[in-house]
């Protein structure tokens, strides 16, 4: 059962229900960004709860604390990546990717018995970095305002009689209702003092 069918329990019998799903407002880059955001959450949680395992697998036993910190960083970048401000999150992810690559580089020396794992991890992070760059460029392009988007609507007054002749037109036959009156004059409120 799909989510949209499940939510039908919150509706009444006469309400329309979905029969066939159509095209979405989400663009390809939006979907990629979303996937990367969820990936950040998965990786971040793993780094937070099992930094020792990851450190041992990469031969970076002395960097357990750093890996945990990277987990927190992943979660922090996931929040904007999954929000409507995706470029902010993706930029944070790209910065994080560079930190990851720098850290992994320290595990690629010949003396590290887990050098093979570190090489695979480096290749994966490089691939993810590429996806982050593609997503960043994609969402920026899909949602940008082009220079020509600044239109001139100075011919759209909305007043068929012109702007100036329309000023105060409604005052001729409309009084602000009493329940919307917000202020009066001192003369209205305290006529004796005003005189």
């Amino acid at each position: 059962m799909t989510l949209t069918n499940l939510t039908s329990i919150a509706r009444s019998e006469g309400d329309p229900s979905i029969e066939h799903k159509g095209p979405s407002s989400l663009t390809g880059p939006d979907r990629l960004a979303r996937a990367l955001g969820w990936f950040s959450i998965g990786l971040g949680v793993a780094e937070l709860i099992a930094p020792g395992r990851i450190a041992r697998a990469l031969g970076l036993e002395d960097k357990k604390g750093l890996i945990r910190a990277y987990g927190a960083r992943e979660l922090a970048s996931a929040i904007p990546t999954l929000s409507i401000d995706k470029p902010v999150g993706l930029a944070a992810r790209i910065g994080g990717d560079l930190l990851d690559l720098g850290t992994l580089a320290t595990a690629l020396h010949r003396d590290n018995p887990k050098r093979g794992n570190a090489a695979i991890a480096t290749a994966l992070v490089a691939g993810i970095t590429l996806l982050d760059l593609v997503a960043y460029a994609g969402v920026k392009a899909a949602h940008r305002r082009l220079p020509g988007d600044d239109r001139d609507y100075s011919d759209r007054s909305g007043f068929p009689r012109g702007a100036q002749p329309s000023r105060g037109l409604a005052r001729q036959d409309f009084d602000i209702p009493t329940d919307y009156r917000a202020e009066g004059t001192v003369a209205d409120a305290l006529p004796t003092l005003a005189t």
């Binding site: 019998e13 006469g14 095209p23 609507y153």
Partner: protein, 391 residues
């Protein structure tokens, strides 16, 4: 039928859904001829309003032709009637409706328990606007079931284009109420934050109500040019200091009336550092709204002035300078628009040629293009101010 359906954050789809059916004798079904995307739909698009569910049909600016009428609505409606549907659903009989407070009708929110918990006391049912306000399917669709249809409609005459009438459903009466609840007087300087569709209608309403000086604040050139076209003095907050400029225009005293036509999603920029902090808190679910405009209005408003809030706020706001507001003796007025209270008068003004609300439409598209139009409107791309859709 086809409809624009909410599936999640930024995910509106052009889906095939079953047709709506009459459920109650006061219901009617209309065949939608025109609908529009509202600025407040973007709060749903951004998933900032709680209680949207995947599968909810969007839209609360709708008009069309009556095609089916429940038995109890037949006294006021018949097949073939041309109607604009207010975004507020009203029973017309409860204490609040009798007072003209239609947006807080006591009977039409079919999820009253949820509304009571969220708001203290439930507000009216609204079309396409979360389950906090009834979870009613919206009008960005080919057909719309109108509950309490005998009272929830505005009959409109033939011979006037949909473009001129559609906005009786929301933004015209909303802008009008923003100006009316500010109690605009002929000697007033009125400052209006936000030149989106509601802001544009508020500017025109303030002009019609005869404000001496109307000042419009935004940063998008196309919106500012549209505001200036109506006779407003404009302030581009990217280029000018709003407080300094407003004081300059009012002899250092501040505007008599300040109107917030922005609401929860103030523009975020480092030039307005509080908006960056608000955005961060919003992402962390520590705050619902970004109330930069509210803070600025309270600061700059003339003592004993009026703050009118018509831009939608959703929940909790931080760092509101109540000390300034209290000591300056400001009056606050706010509400979702009580649409039918104003529609008769506004329809007459449209017929009379006093105002033509179609000026605000910058994009016309088919309902099928709805998902793309949501993106265009949200990104403020292609000079987009208002999107009108035709099923």
């Amino acid at each position: 039928m086809k409809a624009l359906v909410w599936h999640g954050k930024e995910d509106i789809r052009y889906d095939t859904v079953s047709d709506p059916a009459i459920e109650d004798s006061r219901d009617a079904i209309i065949k939608v001829t025109s609908c529009a995307i509202c600025g407040s739909d973007l709060h749903l698009f951004h998933n900032l309003v709680p209680a949207m569910l995947p599968g909810d049909i969007m839209g609360h600016e709708t008009m069309g032709e009556v095609v089916e009428v429940g038995s109890a609505a037949k006294g006021t409606l018949k097949k073939g009637d041309r109607v604009v549907i207010p975004f507020t659903i009203q029973c017309g009989e409860c204490d609040q409706c009798m007072r003209g407070n239609f947006s807080v009708c006591e009977r039409t929110n079919r999820k009253k328990d949820l509304g009571d918990k969220a708001f203290g006391h439930a507000t009216a049912g609204l079309f396409g606007y979360t389950h906090l306000t009834g979870g009613y399917p919206g009008g960005q669709a080919e057909y719309l079931r109108v509950p309490f249809a005998d009272t929830t409609h505005v009959k409109v005459p033939d011979g006037i284009d949909d473009e001129k009438l559609l906005f009786l459903s929301d933004i015209l009466p909303t802008g009008w109420q923003a100006a009316v609840q500010a109690d605009i007087q002929p000697t007033d300087t009125v400052a209006i934050w936000g030149c989106g569709p509601v802001g544009q209608m508020t500017i025109r309403s303030a002009i019609l109500l005869g404000a001496e000086q109307v000042i419009a604040i935004d940063h998008l050139p196309e919106r500012l040019s549209m505001a200036a076209a109506a006779g407003a003095i404009t302030i581009n907050f990217d280029e000018e200091n709003v407080v300094e400029r407003l004081n300059e225009l009012t002899g250092g005293k501040g505007p008599h009336k300040c109107i917030d036509a922005v609401g929860t999603e103030s523009h975020v920029s480092f030039g307005q550092p509080d908006t960056v902090l608000d955005r961060a808190k919003q992402m962390l679910m520590m705050e619902n709204d970004r109330p930069h405009v509210l803070r600025e209005m309270i600061y700059v408003c003339r003592p004993a002035g009026v703050i009118s809030i018509i831009g939608v706020y959703l929940g909790l706001v931080d760092k509101i300078p109540m000390g300034q507001a209290m000591n300056k003796g400001l009056t606050f007025r706010m509400a979702q628009a009580h649409v039918p209270r104003w529609t008769g008068d506004l329809l007459r003004r449209i017929e009379d040629g006093q105002i033509d609300p179609s000026f605000v439409i910058t994009h016309k598209a088919s309902l099928a293009d709805g998902p793309e139009m949501y993106r265009t409107f949200r990104d403020k791309a292609d000079g987009c101010v208002k999107v009108m859709l035709r099923p």
